[in-house]
Symmetry: C2
Subunit: 419 residues, 2 copies
């Protein structure tokens, strides 16, 4: 297994000390965020609860929560019927209206909109079908209008929205807020930064969808008390395209999430054309259109469909389960490509469990054999054994959680920076 060591860099030291943080203020900010995120995780906590949860001294909790309350980020819950003896505890929780997050999940055939408050609870949501013939500009218009609608329906003013979190499949330039490559638009970029024109206070986040899935799944596992100590995980999203997210704890114990370009990682040198224009991408074999192409023996240099309806895939799966050779073969090849690709990811990182999500999970029975075969072809798997794989069908839920979790954390960072 690759050994991972964290190490101090000179530039970091300069950055930390030479930055705008006069000494101990850094520490205070850290504790503000610590308390805030603990509070959001459990919804509501008492003073003492926070103390044990964060490890901070009770006096420190007092100071920190006083700050937060003054800033309006948290509030005391009134009716505190503890029931037991002793002074009743006052529950603290994030103040709902302190900030709002608009989450926009752009998928191949639809766009899902959701609004959450500062507690992270869902306030409103709706979806629109996506016009597959649209342009980047039309998509931007549509999203812009829908976000306005989201605000109107909840009577929010533009400045009430503190974060706009977008996700899409494809390749993303997170800093610039640009979608660099996407299944629908190819390399016609989409410049989401423009959406901020209507939202003066908001900060933009644009992430690959699978990154959010990995983030959410990892967060859940870290909160799970009875789970074994978490060190990292891989999420694999199976659908029309293939996504992969990696979440791991780095040296400092913070969670680093990446969404590498797995679907278009080179798998085998074959003649299967991918819609990205390359040949031999994993997706060209394991994406829905790749499976369909193999099953129907369409020539490998054609892209069969821009979008394969799930019903179509179900038909192929049914025929595979009934014994049709080519359908079985198609799924097996898909599994093989996934397994080989995963084995490479495992070789390059350490051993991690894998969670599979997306509509493709319903064909896992047909993919499993090939995946295992592909995994077993590498030394890494021979030495460390097969990774633990589990199936998580509710991808949309994870995406939403990821949106909210990350966006609110970013809001916390920004708010605590100014104080």
């Amino acid at each position: 297994m690759p050994s991972v060591v964290s190490f101090q860099s000179s530039s970091a030291l300069q950055g930390l000390a030479g930055g705008a943080k006069p000494g101990t203020e850094q520490l205070r900010r850290q504790n503000l965020i610590t308390v805030l995120s603990a509070l959001r995780r459990s919804g509501a906590m008492s003073h003492t609860g926070l103390s044990v949860e964060t490890g901070l001294a009770s006096a420190t909790v007092t100071a920190v929560t006083a700050d937060l309350e003054r800033a309006g980020a948290i509030e005391r819950q009134e009716q505190a019927v503890s029931g037991g003896r002793g002074r009743p505890r006052v529950m603290l929780s994030p103040r709902r209206s302190f900030a709002h997050v608009a989450a926009v999940q752009i998928s191949s055939d639809a766009v899902h909109y959701a609004l959450a408050d500062y507690r992270g609870t869902l306030i409103d949501r709706f979806s629109t079908r996506r016009d597959l013939e649209g342009t980047p500009a039309s998509l931007l218009d549509e999203v812009s209008g829908a976000v306005k609608r989201l605000m109107e329906r909840s009577r929010l003013k533009p400045e009430d929205v503190s974060a706009l979190s977008l996700s899409s499949k494809g390749i993303v330039d997170a800093e610039a807020g640009r979608l660099v490559w996407s299944p629908v638009f190819g390399d016609r970029p989409v410049d989401f930064a423009k959406l901020l024109d209507d939202l003066p206070q908001a900060q933009l986040a644009l992430n690959n969808e699978t990154l959010l899935v990995a983030h959410a799944k990892a967060s859940r596992q870290m909160q799970d008390a009875d789970a074994p100590d978490f060190s990292g995980l891989i999420t694999l999203s199976l659908g029309h395209s293939i996504g992969l997210g990696i979440a791991r704890l780095d040296g400092q114990g913070s969670l680093a999430v990446t969404a590498p370009n797995f679907g278009h990682m080179l798998n085998a040198v074959d003649d299967r054309l991918c819609r990205c224009g390359s040949r031999g991408c994993i997706e060209a074999t394991a994406g829905f259109y790749g499976i369909l192409r193999l099953a129907f023996q369409v020539p490998p240099n054609t892209i069969p469909a821009r979008f394969v309806p799930l019903a179509e895939m179900e038909k192929i799966a049914l025929s595979a389960r009934q014994g049709t050779r080519m359908a079985q073969y198609a799924f097996r090849q898909a599994g093989l490509a996934l397994g080989q690709g995963l084995s490479r990811v495992l070789s390059l990182y350490e051993n991690m469990p894998v969670a599979i999500t997306g509509p493709g999970t319903r064909f896992y029975d047909l993919l499993a054999g090939g995946m295992e075969e592909g995994l077993r072809q590498s030394l890494h798997v021979r030495l460390n054994g097969l990774p633990h794989i589990d199936i998580e069908p509710d991808e949309a839920g994870l995406v939403f959680d990821g949106h909210v979790d990350r966006a609110l954390a970013a809001v916390d960072q920004r708010v605590m920076a100014v104080r």
Copy 2:
């Protein structure tokens, strides 16, 4: 490109606050190490120099250096001929005898020993030829004896050696100090932890050789003032086996170095047997023995030699340069495998420059074509362009630097922890 985001984990927060660090002490430790590492980087610095370099206030530097001097970790240099006007500056530097590091580089055909002081300067070194017929036990004995010899020659007592840093090719369990898989011993493990029996004060570090190369190369680039801002790099070591190291700055700005199992990452599904027992490893095509096998058209299911002398490779290279088809083909295939593998690494991380080291660098002219072809097969390279590749023939120097850098940093950490 994959987006990388750093994020706070709950466990980390607990760990930080709930740990043994009462409040601001953490901060002080950080500053101690900051100063110490700045001091080691530049050899000697004045008070004011430290202040600007670390960004700490002058008063803080006074406090910190006083601590360090009291602990014996640094000393003031006497003759301080500044030449200019004003009060002459006193130079501070790490005290040479404060700690010593023994570095042991185990390569396929030799073992190199080196001893460095707390300033990081080389005190002594020698090499022994390696007995290829040896066992793990005999290797341990040999290393143990050689380390004793290293200490005797510099008149060091066992407790003067604060760190023993080992490196080898192969797969390493850094925490346990065990070599899990190596080219020479296969999966007969080597338990280096036993070496500590003779060195009561020392802490053991066992790293993949390429990890040290990546670390050292990255450190050099980060110190390089005129270099563009560093964000990460890949080092690729070409030789009898293939090694790859990745160094990148994580969210907190610290350097995270890994040495994934690249040589045995699955490349293509072919019948080329690797000495690890799998088929299709990159090494089976791009390692020296793989090139030799292809060039001489040895059947792909045989391992031609345990160790290929460099002279043998030079002969093949010469004949390739003179136009021999099979020799050219062998190098091209090797380059292709490397390029494809690199393209996968780049897909999985972000775009990074690549530094190639090891004896195989002298055949780079023959490999370059295939590498470029392999790289170009992926969407990632099509979008981001070819990575910048440079050649760094002095692998041994980087390995030594890596040993010393990491080991001394670890010593710092440990020493500052107790205070």
